[in-house]
Point group: D2
Chain length 93, copies 4
């Protein structure tokens, strides 16, 4: 099951925008843009990727984890463990 | 329902340790400890608090959210929305 | 040299407040406060510690690193390396 | 003055890699890859961008800020203020 199924277009649009941001930063570096201005754009691109991650996680909890919870048992435990690890990776990245 | 019920002692122990870390940092500052050494301890205390948050979140997903998911409907949606917002606050803090 | 010398009282006040926040969170847990409300306070305490770190880092750059830069050579390089590592620890914590 | 001048090729290489990572994530989403696997790659791309930011910041401190510190006065203060704000944006992103 794919949690982001209903939001696939939106996720792809956000990823396309983030990719464009990173390409724009490379262009800034090629043109010797002042460090601080480059850094501001890197922070913006990082935040954009974090937003994609939070959206994917929402969909995952609302679909995959919620569905597994209704099944219960080991299936539910496995999904919860996976989700916890994904959240920890995000918080620490 | 309280998700951390089964881990209350562990959560309190971790919080007690984090509190001790913050008090220790204040003592370092009082004794004019070198900035970088103080900063190292602040980063460690921040990481300790993040770990408490991740543990609380795990318990919350495994109990409160999972239980709401089996009920379904608005109850489940409300719990998921709440959890998403809590995760976003952690990722952005 | 201690960068935060001129702001010591302010740093201690902020640390005292952060310590009180962590103690308050422990009290919430003792009283079985709802997980999400506990998590909100943990995120707030984490942010408070991050602000202390950013203030200490500002003072460190403005005093210790700036002074080392006027000396130059290995002294400056060592201070810059130290500051970079401290910044990386904060960004990754 | 551009702090990353001596590392321009390395910065561009890292940015090119980060851009490729983001494009790869979009491809994963197009192919309905499992949420958790997508999330793992988003966390990796976020970390890659953070590393670029830390490298740019190192160069900025070692060149632009260090140079301004030897001049002193308002020039130095302005550069320090700018650097502090950039660091805060990174820590909070």
């Amino acid at each position: 099951m794919i949690g982001y199924m209903g939001n696939k277009d939106d996720v792809l649009r956000r990823l396309g925008r983030a990719e464009g941001q990173v390409r724009g930063i490379a262009r800034m570096v090629e043109q010797d843009t002042y460090c601080i201005d480059v850094l501001t754009q890197v922070a913006a691109a990082t935040k954009a990727l974090e937003s994609v991650a939070l959206a994917l996680l929402d969909d995952h909890l609302a679909h995959c984890v919620a569905e597994a919870a209704t099944v219960g048992g080991e299936v539910a435990e496995e999904k919860l463990r996976e989700a916890s690890q994904a959240i920890a990776r995000l918080v620490r990245s």
